[in-house]
């Protein structure tokens, strides 16, 4: 069977939507991830796919404030992907939000591209707030941004950061956790992509990070545990964060239970799909399963 990769040209608005509409967007993002990774012949499928619902709600339901045509607007909310290897889902989200042409998704990881294997600030790709790829650094970047907004600019924009769960094994992540409540960063929302998978296996086996809720609570967070694929859960958690931002001094931590590779049956919940692209047959099957 021959396989010609084309990206649908659709972009989506950033306004409240029904779950049905949101799930259409999430499927579009998944399809982009599969296609761009197939073309790249390398990259991280599993985690990219499992963030589809969360990225959809963040960027397409009116939650994050941004202007894709004037993206450096000072009043924008900030989104930091600390798990830089999950760049494919970020690139797809940004393209579908109009930050750059959807076509460009086909250049992922190729020589000369702005879509580097891990996001690079040096590419000037619209929507990228920081380079990332050395795990555990993005969350501290987010804290710096939150401190800047809260104490120096005295503005109330949101700062959202996604880390992996394996990523929590890095020690500076817990220095960051300590700083979040020390500095009363109620404007910080830390989302943990809790798929329990990393490269060598289950997170609990490679280095046990659990119990997570108790850890983050002890570090002073308001912790919300959700199903990271359930739109209502995600919306509810983000509203709680918005309330925290207004009414409290507490940083928010959303522990999102996810399944690596979600949406593509043969990848689901398999850590082996942490860092591989689909081959041709797998891409055909995945695209069939994701058929819009």
């Amino acid at each position: 069977m021959s396989l010609v990769i084309k990206f649908t040209p659709d972009t989506f608005t950033n306004s409240p939507k029904t779950n049905h509409e949101l799930s259409h967007i999430a499927r579009t993002l998944r399809t982009d991830v599969v296609k761009s990774l197939y073309l790249a012949k390398s990259g991280h499928s599993g985690g990219s796919l499992d963030l589809s619902e969360i990225m959809t709600v963040l960027y397409f339901n009116g939650f994050l404030k941004y202007n894709s045509k004037n993206w450096k607007d000072k009043s924008r909310d900030r989104f930091v992907l600390s798990a830089g290897h999950l760049a494919p889902i970020l690139y797809s989200t940004l393209a579908r939000a109009g930050f750059f042409e959807v076509e460009e998704l086909g250049t992922l990881r190729k020589l000369g591209t702005r879509l580097q294997g891990h996001p690079g600030l040096d590419t000037n790709l619209p929507g990228i707030e920081t380079s990332a790829g050395s795990l555990g650094q993005g969350i501290s970047i987010a804290i710096g941004m939150a401190m800047s907004h809260k104490y120096l600019d005295k503005t109330s924009q949101k700062v959202i950061c996604i880390t992996g769960d394996g990523e929590l094994e890095e020690g500076t992540v817990w220095e960051a956790a300590m700083a979040s409540s020390n500095f009363k960063l109620s404007n910080l929302c830390w989302i943990v992509d809790n798929n329990d998978c990393q490269i060598d296996g289950r997170v609990s086996e490679v280095m046990n990070i659990y119990p997570l809720r108790e850890k983050f609570e002890a570090f002073g967070f308001d912790v919300i545990e959700i199903d990271g694929h359930n739109f209502d859960d995600i919306k509810m958690a983000l509203s709680k964060y918005e309330a925290n931002l207004k009414n409290t001094d507490k940083p928010t931590c959303i522990i999102a239970k996810t399944y690596m590779g979600k949406g593509v049956s043969f990848m689901e919940n398999k850590y082996e799909w942490h860092g591989n692209p689909p081959n041709k047959d797998q891409t055909i099957q995945a695209l069939n399963e994701l058929e819009l």
Partner: protein
Amino acid sequence: MMNKYIYKGLVPTRKGFGEGLVELGERNSNIVVLGGDITGSVLTSYFKERFPDRFFSIGIAEANATTIAAGLALSGKIPFFASYSAFSAFRNADQLRISIAYNNVNVKIGGGHSGITVGPDGATHQSLEEIAFLRTLPNMTLIVPADYNETKKATIAAGEMIGPAFIRFGRSAVPSFTDENSSFEIGKANVLREGNDVAIVACGLMVWPALEAAEELSESYKINARVINLHTIKPIDSFTLTNAAKECGAIVTAEEHQIHGGLGSAVAEVIVKNTPVPMEFLGVNDRFGESGEPDELLNYFNLNPKGIIEKVLAVMKRK
């Protein structure tokens, strides 16, 4: 074509590292290995399978793993910790400096997936600075082997010497040309090809292109180049380098690393002091890497025989 060295196909150097660890493990029960989640990438997985009781998974925590290794060494063990070079040389830089080098403990660090040839992952993963950093650490031995066999030997030699050592190797399959019987001694550079017009000093995956360049230089330009495999950057083989400067009168260095502070700088420190001669440096010139396929990137950065020949022609004019 190359009398002593025969191309034997493409093999990744990391395979030599993984196999070397297993061989060390067979020889010495004090060898232990710490994993940093990418054991299947840097092939500490071989050791993990063979000696599960002497393998510990530390997770994605390079600073912690490095320091735990120091503790193990202070308790009589010979720990190896390996990750991508970007993380096992830099995410733990302070720990390498104080807990390993200053303590002068018997810890060995593997830096895999080094250089631009890690490829599409891009700049964050393409470590191009660790030679510069590691060679400034007192007590540290730094080895950058040229191919699969040499990486295996270097790993074993590092495990059998006493003191801190770092072995830098790569992800992609590279020409294999040394064999079981080729000599390898830490601190002793190998002269792979004789010649008296210019010396090409290289390490890591630039050694094979240096041999290719030398053949081309002799055929097309009647320039007879000496090729030196400087697999040990520290301690540096001043004797072999000084002789090369005296006998050839010009030197070109080639490395998959920043020019600033790397192999070329290390060679220059020796040459300038003992026998100043014109030098040219081939490497990455003060910029970060970027995504691309390994071979594509090597060509993009001119890290190939053509790049070496250009430098040789430039240095010959200055002789």
